[in-house]
């Protein structure tokens, strides 16, 4: 019975790791291919089984959750209640940073969740090791700062300031000023591609490679200033929200949006994607929150909010945080099934208004940037409980960080690889254009032909009087010139000899080679 139990629990895991049905080789005629595919499939199956077993036995931590007693609701529990009932280390993760002066804060976590970057609108930037509350860096840029984002690790971050995007290092020193892009509003960093994506007041979408510094793409949306930018973690496609209620999806490869969707009647105020990349959540000024299946591009359900939502975020485990006014609501399983009531609710102190929301990866914490500072609250079950130190290591040493950086650069994906359905990568082109190589060859040929065309000899003006005189003079002085040249050379040689003499004599052992 025990083994049965095990198989029952392990089966869904195997299915998860199998990534689709097993390929059946029945219809294949090619025997060699058949046997090759069969062995490959067997290996895949084995891999899935091992992965499932690893998950079952080596990743035993399960995500936490709030459970309500009879007649109670989980959203009744306040942060105080939760903090009272959790262990000390977790209790320390809930805190308020009261920074009332430097105005609404934006917040961003590193990929491992260890460091938090906060940026006040009035130029206050700080990097915090937020669990120990150790302030790594703090600086005042004395400029309006609209958004901040960590780059590939905690060593660098970008800030969208009033005129340009700046890149700072961990000490707060300005490393770069990206002058190519003016008046940025929102930033996003694509970790696997080393792309810094930004939008600005002119409604231009800008992709810049942070490893090479090259500008990858610069596309105009023609839809006015764009304050909503979010990347889909699954396929690195970027979504922009516009004031006319549309959401557009972009890749750096196309100058026009891949998809345009009319999501709201008012302006779009925020978008967010789930980790699997199948759902998108949008919030609009029409006080609605809509959940979309972006595989089918269809709205699944729509929620009413009591205020227009300012910020949305989806956690690793699929919790949805909705920040509007000074209230934050957490919704559980809000994608598949329309929920009746929220999972959690929290109200900020002193009615400060939410500016930005961000779930901390690998932690049951959501960070809230607002007018009164920064607040971190506990949301049981939001983060992934098991972290893979090869993917994101919160306890990274310096050496590991160096390694990881190099590996990340080696594994960097080219911007051309961004596509709406990454499963299509390497697939057969359904309507192939001309063979790429042929095309290139043609281009080369045309270039060659162009090169062969010699420029016309323009002898215009050669026969001018002045030119003729000059020529004559040149001929006259030609002999003189050669003499002068010889003299000059001689002088040089003597000088060189002098210099040589002045140089230290060679060691004795080497003298024989010098002669």
């Amino acid at each position: 019975p025990q083994s049965n139990e095990n198989t029952d629990t392990i089966k869904p895991k195997i299915r998860k790791y199998n990534r689709g049905e097993r390929l059946s080789v029945k219809g294949l005629k090619d025997k060699k291919l058949k046997s090759q595919l069969k062995t490959k499939e067997d290996l895949f199956e084995k891999s899935a089984l091992t992965a499932a077993k690893v998950e079952q036995w080596l990743l035993p931590s399960e995500g936490g959750a709030l459970e309500a007693d009879d007649g109670e609701n989980t959203y009744d529990y306040t942060q105080e209640d939760i903090v009272k009932n959790v262990d000390i280390s977790s209790a320390h993760k809930a805190f308020d940073l009261r920074l009332p002066d430097l105005g609404p804060y934006t917040i961003d976590y590193t990929h491992s969740g260890r460091y938090a970057l906060i940026g006040g609108r009035k130029g206050h930037l700080a990097v915090i090791d937020w669990k120990t509350k150790y302030l790594m860096m703090e600086t005042q840029v004395k400029e309006t700062t609209r958004d901040i984002k960590f780059l590939h690790n905690e060593q660098f971050f970008a800030a969208a300031q009033s005129k340009y995007i700046y890149i700072y290092d961990k000490k707060g020193a300005e490393v770069h000023c990206l002058k190519e892009f003016v008046a940025p509003l929102k930033l996003e960093f694509l970790r696997h591609h080393f792309l810094l994506v930004s939008t600005n007041k002119a409604g231009v979408l800008h992709y810049q490679d942070t490893s090479t510094g090259q500008i990858v793409a610069n596309y105009s949306t023609r839809l006015g200033p764009c304050r909503v930018l979010r990347a889909n973690p699954y396929n690195a496609v970027v979504s922009l929200g516009h004031s006319n209620g549309t959401v557009t999806l972009w890749t750096p490869n196309m100058g026009t949006p891949l998809v345009r969707m009319l999501c709201h009647r008012g302006a779009v105020t925020s978008t967010a994607f789930d980790m699997g990349g199948s759902y998108m959540v949008t919030a609009g000024a029409d006080a609605r929150i809509k959940v979309w299946d972006i595989r089918k591009m269809q709205a699944l359900h729509s929620y009413m909010a009591f205020q227009s939502t300012k910020s949305l975020d989806v956690s690793q485990k699929g919790l949805l945080a909705v920040g509007s006014g000074s209230t934050i609501e957490i919704w559980k399983d809000a994608f598949q099934v329309k929920q009746e009531k929220p999972y959690m609710k929290h109200r900020l102190f002193q009615n400060s208004t939410i500016q930005d929301l961000s779930f901390c990866p690998y932690e049951d914490v959501v960070g809230i940037g607002h007018t009164g500072g920064v607040t971190s609250i506990l949301v049981p079950g939001s983060g992934e409980p098991n972290f893979d130190s090869f993917v994101a290591n919160p306890f990274q040493t310096v050496k590991q960080r160096h390694e990881a950086e190099v590996h990340a650069l080696l594994d960097k994906l080219q911007p051309q690889t961004i596509m709406l359905d990454p499963q299509k990568f390497g697939a057969v082109d359904k309507n192939p254009r001309k063979n790429l190589r042929e095309q290139e060859e043609e281009e080369d040929e045309s270039k060659k032909i162009q090169g062969q065309k010699k420029a016309k000899r323009k002898t215009k003006g050669r026969n001018k009087v002045g030119k003729r005189m000059a020529k004559k003079q040149l001929e006259a002085f030609g002999t003189k010139r050669s003499i002068i040249r010889e003299q000059q050379q001689q002088q040089k040689q003597t000088k060189g000899a002098l210099v040589k003499e002045r140089e230290e004599p060679l060691p004795r052992a080497l003298e024989r080679f010098a002669s």
Binding site: N253, L258, R265, G266, F306
Partner: protein
């Protein structure tokens, strides 16, 4: 079929390098006699004469050959001759220059039961020729040996053969040939050597007798040796057999080769035996060698700790030690525990035996009081009260008692009278509970709030219809009366009218006054009714009580719907106002119940009874409250402050059945409405917090009109009241609207949130814009075919008739075709069915280089190819072992390792063994004899 068994020599891998005489390529006709082979052709004498050669050339040749011991007519080499005609030995045959493979002769044995059809056929056809062929070969010998044999003889022989073939009879010459053989034999072996001769010298040797015996037996059994097969056939058979043998020989490698080819990886690595050394093995192998080590070992042995097991034993002994005191203590403790347990058990038994229920009850009670005593301190008590409060709150939150459940709704919809007593009672019970709960809230709140509000709350509190049910006392009526009077007074006093703004306009003032008057009238009417009711109440109050309750339920459902609508309005209002009030409520996103404060809740409940009144005028409380409401100025932000005319217009439009035009107009209306209402009600929508709220003055007036509008209803509809039945009263909002329209009275109709939002953003008309954009995108991506202008201008347009016909048929067809094509292309688009989505159909040129332009070779279907790529192979996505397995190269070799040729091993052996085992197990289970037999056959 014929079976043959013979031992043959087989040439393998080609031909022998040299060919002996008469072996020439199996060619029967060529050089059959061998004459002239080495010495050129035999020329006719006339020819010789012609070319001037001596006539005796042939003779000379003969002579020469005779000299050299060869037949006379075999001419000598003519190398020295002028006439150098000689067919040289082919290069490959001569094998002089080793350019051609040297092939080994290998010997193989044919199996004893060898059989072949082809060979049989050959043999069969050969049998006829045996004689002649034999002749030929014999004659070959003849030529060589017999000097005297002349050409004539040859010719004779040929003639004979011909004859024989024609007549089918052997003629005399055949006999002669046989004689010749014997003659030849005699001639060749002049002194024939017999076995006896050979054995003669061995006579004296030991074992000679035995040898002799064996020889004799051999001689006895010796049958005449059959005539050997002709060479070509023999060779064919040999080749055949050789092939068979080779196939068999090579095929044994097949499984090995197959295995190697199918293996995912082949390893060519030196097998290195790494000596495993663990700590235990090192310890076991350790032998003290140095003096120091020996000394240590000796010491250890002396103390008995050389072995780890000994150490363990000693340690455990040490640990087991207990002092006497400790043991005694432990025993005492155990005894005490046992004793206590025993006593407790005894007591429990005794108590359990008591059958008196009262005793048990008392016992439980005493226990409880004990617990209470424990919880005597104020903290605990406080907690207790908090808990109770929470329970109550929860009860309230469940909405269980508000008749909002599906069941209750259904029952109310059908009408209460149609249900039995039980159901009715259940609903009454629910309602009662609800009233109780809500009253408790009020009381709780009134304590905390200020005295001014207190009064209001009190009056509000009593407005609940549920409360009327609970205690339909005269006190309520009295209170209502007082309230009405007060309101009337205030209404008359409050004659101040706005002096500025829209409401200061003369027609507006007039309207307001008119409304006010109406309200007053109504209030008076209510007062009258109240008085009469009071008189009634003094009488049979007990009977009317339940009746009231019953009747008022009918209105309740109506109330519910009305409440919902107003809820929504309030929500909108709430969003406009600051969110301070929202603290203690639980706004739910999913349901439409949003931020509603307690205050609002109360207000909400206010207009409701009016509806109830309009249905049954029995519910006096509601009417009172309505009257009160309209006279007292409530500081409430308005929801919809569109002016009268607009609203009336709207009603008219709504009336019209043409839906499209209606909605369009509504949209247009919406724009106007937003100007008024949205800015005042929901400024956050536009993000303009700075927009000042409309003056309270105008608000209150508008509000008044709103209230009046509702309050005015009962008056007009009162005459209908007796006609109406209960189910009719539960109309939907729309129906009510229509009713109202019919009455010609302007009434604000509570709209849903969605409607409001639509109105709020109607000006943007994003949808139309989006549709336009989509159409443009579709046109761009699926362009209509550009039709060539095939007609000439003016052609076919000479006459009016031609002109009237229009463009020719074929042109129209072309156009239609183009249109159809475009439509099809549009249908094929991914966003064809998605109204609010534009999916770009443009191909991503940059990403196209990561797609394969065609299906790679061994694959025949795209699906299969794409499916093989579904699994990521990277280290990040696979466990280490799996990753290694998936990415292992097909051949692993190490530099410098010599790769040996394959060694033979029986791969199939194991498989066969397994098969046999399987069959054996089946044999043991088999029942059917036939089947069993079959299995046995398979087994062997």
């Amino acid at each position: 079929m014929e079976r043959k068994s013979h031992r043959t020599k087989v040439l393998v891998f080609g031909m022998a390098p040299k060919r002996g005489r008469g072996r020439g390529g199996g060619g029967r006709g060529r050089g059959g006699r061998g004459k002239g082979r080495d010495a050129g052709p035999n020329y006719p004498s006339r020819l010789l004469k012609e070319i001037g050669l001596p006539l005796d050339l042939n003779d000379r040749k003969r002579r020469h050959s005779r000299k050299s011991g060869k037949p006379a007519d075999e001419p000598d080499s003519v190398a020295s001759d002028l006439y150098e005609y000689q067919e040289g030995v082919p290069q490959e045959e001569s094998g002089k220059n080793r350019r051609f493979d040297q092939v080994d002769k290998l010997e193989y044995e044919l199996p004893s039961d060898f059989e072949d059809e082809e060979i049989d056929e050959g043999a069969a056809s050969g049998e006829e020729n045996v004689g002649t062929l034999d002749d030929k070969s014999l004659e070959d010998d003849d030529d060589e040996d017999d000097e005297g044999d002349e050409e004539e003889g040859d010719q004779e022989e040929l003639h004979d053969r011909m004859l024989m073939e024609v007549t089918g009879k052997a003629n005399r010459h055949a006999k002669k040939v046989k004689e010749d053989i014997s003659y030849m034999d005699d001639k060749n072996e002049e002194v024939p050597i017999t076995v006896e001769d050979l054995l003669a010298p061995l006579q004296e040797k030991p074992g000679f007798n035995a040898l002799k015996k064996r020889v004799r037996s051999l001689q006895k059994s010796a049958a005449p040796v059959s005539v050997p097969l002709p060479k070509n056939i023999q060779e064919k058979i040999d080749r055949q057999a050789g092939y068979e043998k080779t196939v068999e020989d090579i095929s044994k490698w097949q499984p090995i080769v197959k295995r190697n080819r199918e293996a995912s990886t082949l390893k060519f690595i030196d097998k290195v035996n790494v000596a495993l050394s663990s700590t235990t093995s090192m310890v076991a192998d350790f032998k003290p060698s140095t003096a120091f080590e020996k000394e240590v070992a000796a010491l250890l042995k002396e103390n008995g700790v050389a072995d780890p097991s000994q150490i363990e034993a000693k340690e455990s002994l040490e640990l087991n030690k207990l002092s006497v005191d400790e043991v005694r203590d432990r025993q005492e403790r155990l005894a005490k525990m046992r004793n206590l347990l025993f006593r407790h058990e005894e007591r429990a038994k005794r108590v359990k035996k008591i059958k008196s229920k009262t005793f048990h009850r008392l016992a439980r009670k005493s226990q409880k009081t004990k617990a209470d005593m424990l919880a005597d301190d104020p903290d605990v008590q406080l907690e207790e009260t908090m808990k109770q409060e929470l329970n109550r709150a929860r009860e309230r939150m469940t909405l269980k008692h508000k008749n909002t459940s599906r069941w209750a709704k259904r029952i109310l919809k059908r009408g209460l009278q149609q249900h039995n007593e039980g159901t009715r009672e259940a609903i009454t019970e629910q309602l009662r509970e609800h009233a109780l709960l809500t009253r408790k809230i009020h009381s709780a709140k009134s304590e905390s709030s200020s005295s001014d509000e207190d009064e209001e709350d009190d009056s509000d509190k009593d407005d609940e219809p549920g409360l009327v049910l609970e205690k339909p006392g005269s006190r309520v009526l009295a209170k209502a009366k007082v309230a009405t009077l007060k309101a009337l007074e205030e209404g008359t006093n409050d004659t101040e009218l706005p002096t500025t703004g829209i409401f200061a306009l003369p027609f507006m003032v007039r309207a307001i006054e008119k409304k006010r008057k109406e309200a007053e009238d109504e209030a008076r009417a209510v007062l009258e009714e109240l008085e009469s009711a009071g008189a009634d109440d003094a009488g049979p109050s007990q009977e009317t009580g339940p009746l009231k309750g019953k009747l008022s339920f009918g209105g309740h459902a109506d109330k519910v719907s009305a409440m919902k609508a107003i809820d929504e309005e309030d929500d909108m209002v709430e969003r406009g106002t600051d969110s301070e009030n929202s603290e203690d409520e639980s706004p739910l996103m999913g349901t439409k119940m949003l931020l509603v404060t307690r205050k609002e809740k109360k207000r909400k409940s206010d207009p409701v009874p009016v509806n109830a009144v309009d249905i049954e005028d029995v519910d006096l409380e509601g009417m009172v409250s309505a009257a009160v409401e309209h006279t007292t100025k409530v500081d409430e932000p308005i929801t919809i402050a569109g002016d009268k005319s607009e609203r009336t217009k709207k009603k008219k439009k709504k009336k019209s059945k043409n839906k499209e035009s209606a909605t369009r107009l509504e949209d247009a209306m919406g724009v106007e409405v937003t100007k008024h209402s949205v800015i005042s009600a929901n400024p956050t929508v536009f993000g303009t917090d700075e927009v000042a709220r409309p003056e309270t003055n105008s608000k209150s007036v508008a509000d008044e009109s709103f209230k009046v509008a509702i309050a005015g209803r009962p008056k007009d509809t009162s005459h209908k009241q007796d006609k109406k039945t209960v189910p009719e009263q539960e109309n939907s909002v729309e129906e009510q609207e229509e009713d109202l329209d019919y009455d010609g009275d302007e009434v604000i109709v509570p709209r849903s949130q969605e409607d409001l939002i639509r109105e709020a953003f109607a000006g943007d008309d994003v949808e139309a814009e989006f549709q336009e954009a989509k159409a443009a995108a579709v046109d761009e991506e699926c362009p209509q075919e550009e039709l060539e202008r095939m007609d000439l201008p003016g052609w076919g347009q000479w006459t009016d008739i031609q002109k009237k016909r229009g463009p020719p048929q074929w042109m129209l067809k072309q156009q239609e075709e183009a249109k159809r094509k475009k439509e099809e292309a549009e249908k094929r688009r991914l966003d064809a069915k998605l109204k609010h989505v534009i999916i770009s159909q443009k191909t991503d040129k940059k990403a196209a280089k990561f797609l394969s332009s065609s299906l790679p070779f061994p694959y025949t279907s795209r699906e299969v190819f794409e499916k093989t790529m579904r699994m990521p192979l990277g280290r990040d996505y696979n466990p280490t072992k799996a990753f290694q397995d998936l990415t292992r190269p097909s051949i692993i070799k190490r530099a410098g390792v010599i790769i040996d040729p394959i060694e033979y091993e029986d791969v199939g052996k194991r498989k066969r063994k397994q098969e046999r085992w399987a069959i054996a197990s089946r044999i043991t289970q088999a029942k059917d004899s036939k089947h069993l037999e079959k299995l046995w056959q398979q087994f062997f």
